[in-house]
């Protein structure tokens, strides 16, 4: 449980319900807000871990022929840095925001399947621990985050089994999360909230959930094929028997490129929420931003082979994928221009969330433009697998996705904790990070163009790469330093943070209409929505010039207790199921001696599924007085309580049995 430590800071500020405290209540929680916080805390912990891995990488590369790490250690670290940042940091951070915010932003009391949601988190947490624990069990995986066959199927040591099995486990978490989010967004929106009145953030999460639904199964197949080649003697990727390594590349990138959008679209959603609030103007071209997001996702399935321009696809395929790749720049550009349009003529308040959002636009644009140079196939054959491409995707995933995520953290933290994060520390964080980030990654463009190949543990001293590598390393440490004010502000927030009202930033969307922190049931009365940015329009109208004028002041919402709201009960089956799954995975990897563990894991797993299937999702598990309330068909007996009458329509539905999803994927 050591990895839970970073959450401790958040655990201390759960909310006003003392009765809901305690570790057990977190372990059995099915509350989307708590699950979101646990996702966020765990992902931030892995962010620090992945960052430390990056610092070792940069130390090794600070000087030519570096001796800080052996080649073996270096290969392990860059593999785990990539795997960690993609699968254990950015994806779960997006899930954290989605979990916490989607229900509140659409006016629901929880996600569609709260227990399945808890299961997603526990599977993610244990899967992440599983993957990272390889360090103590023979070394980190060392075949690259992309695990190209036959390198990944060739080595005898257990490391790449950890990688393949770990990603398969994490895939279950993401798939269940995607099913949950799509169902929640499609079916549980508050009355009046049509699809085109949803916040853009929710739209982007929906698009991401669809991308996950249709891309995860493809990498699942690729991973199964690698795993079976390694463990069951299949010959999918054995060239001697006629296996084709290029098939793996197609399958991996058919997942891998949508994955890039899975990583960036949530941040695009966050920025689309932050910019209007701090410009005091609505999002420019709402429909265009939404359609552009959907178009990026659709096109994202048609560009995968641009990761394979040097694989020898032939000029026809290369030209086709070059054109689709160029074309995807168009919707991306539309988004950038609409964001600029949002801020144009606004009344800009440069609070920390806004700084990160503007930083996102600037940095992501650089990453997007270098992406266009990759679509030019001949140029790409010089750039790919060089540091130029390393620079490119760090501008997209760090300057883009992570800056967007930090914008979101500063923006929604007052909602989560009831206290603002320090503005002063936030500005230090932003400016140091912006400087450190550019010092680290801007020089890498040139290093790549000057012939520095990716994933090389050493480079020779006499080819002109020394200076910029040193600059890049200094920048990396500056990024590390920039995290200190953030961590300090987080750790001291519950004491030093300035108290925030419910409507912390004069916001536009529904989450600002509930208290900070929100009550367990989110909405005392489920709102009826009339417009995009409904909450803003309750406060502001427009005068004849089109300027905003205040028409109403919303009183600070009362802090309701949950006593009369029907909510799903806590359950320990999700964590049991997740634990069983991962125990079985450990057991599998250690051959004969692992068999007892495999059996125990399988028993726990099936016990979890069985118990889950038997459990009445609304039946009180313990003496949680805030969780009584009837099952749908008991409602008559329990008696409709006053609050429930108005809320029945949007009431959180009981969790249907989700076990078959797990079994199906698991089979």
């Amino acid at each position: 449980m050591a990895t839970l430590t970073p959450e401790a800071t958040e655990v201390q500020e759960p909310d006003e319900h003392g009765s809901r405290g305690g570790l057990w209540s977190w372990i059995t929680t099915v509350d989307h807000k708590r699950i979101g916080l646990m996702y966020g805390g765990t992902a931030m912990f892995f962010f620090l871990l992945g960052g430390i891995e990056a610092l070792f990488i940069r130390l090794q590369l600070a000087v030519p022929d570096g001796t800080v790490l052996t080649s073996d250690q270096y290969n392990q670290l860059f593999t785990m840095h990539g795997t960690t940042m993609v699968f254990l940091v950015i994806m779960p951070l997006a899930a954290a925001f989605g979990n916490y915010l989607i229900p509140i932003m659409i006016g629901a009391r929880d996600v569609a399947f709260p227990r399945m949601n808890a299961m997603s988190f526990w599977v993610f947490l244990f899967g992440g621990i599983f993957l990272s624990s390889s360090f103590f069990l023979g070394g980190f995986p060392d075949g690259g985050w992309f695990g190209y066959a036959p390198l990944s199927t060739q080595s005898e040591v257990i490391r790449m089994d950890f990688w393949a099995l770990g990603l398969l486990i994490l895939g279950i978490a993401s798939l269940a999360g995607a099913v949950n989010f799509t169902t929640t967004i499609f079916t549980m929106r508050a009355p009046g909230m049509t699809m085109f009145k949803m916040p853009v953030f929710v739209w982007m999460q929906l698009v991401v959930a669809f991308l996950l639904l249709f891309s995860l199964p493809v990498i699942t197949v690729a991973l199964f094929e690698v795993f079976f080649d390694r463990n069951f003697g299949t010959l999918f990727y054995d060239p001697a028997a006629g296996g084709d390594p290029i098939l793996y590349q197609h399958l991996f990138w058919l997942f891998g490129h949508p994955e890039v959008y899975i990583l960036i679209l949530p941040s695009m959603g966050i920025v689309s929420e932050v910019l209007p609030v701090f410009s005091r103007k609505p999002l420019f071209g709402y429909q265009f931003v939404v359609f552009a997001g959907a178009a990026i996702a659709l096109l994202g399935f048609g560009v995968w082979a641009h990761h394979m321009f040097t694989s020898g696809l032939g000029p026809v395929a290369e030209s086709a994928f070059s054109l689709t790749t160029m074309f995807i720049a168009v919707p991306t550009g539309i988004k950038i221009f609409n964001w600029l349009g949002t801020t144009w003529g606004g009344k800009i308040s440069l609070k920390t969330p806004m700084l990160f959002a503007l930083g996102f636009i600037a940095m992501f644009t650089i990453g997007g433009l270098s992406g266009v140079t990759h679509s030019v196939v001949p140029a790409d054959t010089q750039q790919t697998d060089s540091y130029y491409v390393v620079a490119h995707f760090h501008y997209v995933l760090f300057g883009g996705a992570m800056f967007g995520i930090f914008a979101g953290v500063y923006y929604w933290w007052p909602k989560i904790s009831g206290r603002y994060l320090s503005e002063a520390l936030g500005k230090w964080h932003f400016w140091l990070m912006l400087l450190g980030f550019n010092l680290t990654f801007a020089p890498q463009h040139w290093l790549g163009l000057w012939g520095m190949a990716r994933r090389t543990a050493v480079y020779p001293p006499d080819i002109g790469l020394e200076t910029l590598n040193m600059v890049s390393t200094i920048g990396a440490f500056l990024i590390a330093v920039s995290m200190l004010p953030f961590l300090y502000a987080m750790l001291t927030n519950h004491r030093k943070g300035e108290p925030a009202p419910a409507d912390a930033w004069d916001g536009r969307t529904l989450e600002w209409s509930v208290s900070s922190p929100p009550p367990h049931h989110n909405f005392h009365e489920v709102p009826t929505v009339e417009a995009i940015d409904d909450f803003w329009h309750r406060k502001y109208g427009e005068d004849e010039e089109g300027r905003a004028v205040r028409i109403a002041t919303i009183p600070e919402p009362e802090r309701f207790t949950d006593a009369y709201i029907h909510l799903p009960s806590p359950s320990y089956y999700p964590i049991m199921l997740a634990a069983g799954l991962v125990l079985a995975a450990y057991g599998f990897l250690f051959g004969p001696i692992g068999i007892p563990l495999l059996i125990v894991g399988a028993l726990v797993l099936f016990g979890g599924i069985f118990g889950w299937a038997q459990e009445d999702p609304d039946h009180p598990m313990g003496d949680h007085d805030d969780h009584h309330g009837g099952h749908d068909d008991h409602e008559a007996e329990t008696g409709p309580v006053e609050d429930e009458a108005g809320a029945a329509e949007g009431e959180t539905a009981g969790d249907p049995e989700a076990a078959e999803v797990v079994e199906g994927e698991d089979a």
Binding site: Q154, G285, L340, D385, S386, L449, T456, I463
Partner: protein, 333 residues
């Protein structure tokens, strides 16, 4: 602005201290690629300046000022603008697309009258075979300045994917087991062009380097004649005896002798090893001191996995044996 300034500065940087730079193209292929890249880059630079300037402008110009109580106009969108910033970038991309597609097809063509070279990627060194000339060598490819070169590249079935990349001469091309990929090079100017394997291929990927040495046609012919000749080996000498005793010939071939090499764990052909200037995946200068260090413990110079038939094992040689073998190798000119 700072970035742009550096960009201009760096793009015009001189070639001398950057031997592996893609920005110092030699030969037609690399030049075409560089031209196309620069065209794209300048267009990108316009957008880069535009967007980043707009961000700065907005942050300064529209910043909320104290005492200004007026709210901004609530603009929800503008269809004409949307169409503009959809169509214009699309048109610009079309401008880039045309030369891109043309260049893709140009570069894929096999040049006429080309020198054929077979490239075989090994973990972690390169083998070159000149099928028409009967030459086999490692890591250092020699080519004439007056003739294009056409590379047919693959690996052994039990090997992994590599990528052949000489930045001065052309983009990279993956070397994939079970497939033959091709790449053409030409170097009108004599010189040594450095490269590095560009697809992660395991433990010593970083030390899988190579070079292309372009020489005048006359020098090239002389080199070929020298390389084709069988090795001059004293079959009664200690060196040859030790070479056989220690099992070197199982992996390394020496032309004109019984050492046939090959096997499960092939090593570079040593017929004329002393004529090369580097060894160990092109990452060490070939000299007595380095050769001794190599024979003492090969994996200390270039980490390898001989226990799974990848790379040179530590033969546990005594210092005397090392001296004998180094002397023997240095005779293989």
């Amino acid at each position: 602005m700072l970035l742009l300034g550096t960009l201009v500065m760096v793009l015009s940087a001189c070639a001398d201290n950057l031997p592996r730079s893609t920005l110092n193209p030699v030969g037609e292929n690399a030049q075409t690629i560089d031209d196309l890249f620069r065209l794209t880059l300048w267009i990108a630079a316009v957008f880069f300046v535009g967007v980043n300037f707009a961000v700065l402008y907005v942050a300064i110009r529209y910043r909320a000022r104290k005492g200004d109580e007026r709210e901004p106009k609530q603009v929800h969108g503008n269809d004409a603008l949307e169409i503009t910033w959809t169509v214009i970038p699309a048109l610009i991309l079309a401008v880039i697309a045309v030369p891109t597609v043309r260049t893709i097809f140009e570069l894929a063509d096999e040049p006429e009258n080309a020198l054929q070279v077979e490239v075989i990627g090994h973990q972690w060194w390169w083998e070159y075979r000149y099928p028409d000339l009967g030459v086999v060598t490692a890591n250092e490819m020699w080519i004439p300045t007056n003739q294009p070169v056409f590379l047919s590249m693959t690996t052994d079935d039990q090997d992994v994917i590599h990528s052949f990349w000489i930045p001065n001469l052309n983009g990279k091309r993956d070397v994939v087991p079970g497939r033959v990929n091709t790449l053409s090079l030409s170097a009108p100017e004599p010189g040594v062009y450095l490269g590095q394997c560009a697809e992660y291929c395991g433990l010593s990927h970083a030390r899988m380097r190579m070079s292309v040495t372009a020489v005048t046609p006359a020098e090239f012919d002389a080199w070929v004649a020298e390389q084709r000749a069988p090795a001059e080996v004293d079959l009664d000498g200690d060196g040859w005896g030790l070479f056989l005793d220690k099992g070197c010939s199982a992996c390394h071939a020496i032309g004109g002798t019984d050492a046939l090499g090959g096997g499960l764990n092939p090593g570079p052909d040593l017929t004329h090893v002393a004529s090369r200037s580097t060894f160990a995946g092109g990452s060490y200068e070939l000299n007595t001191e380095n050769l001794r260090a190599w024979l003492r413990n090969p994996s200390a110079l270039k980490p390898m996995e001989p226990d799974v038939n990848i790379g040179m094992p530590n033969l546990g040689l005594s210092e005397d044996e090392i001296d004998t073998l180094v002397a023997f190798l240095e005779e293989l000119k």
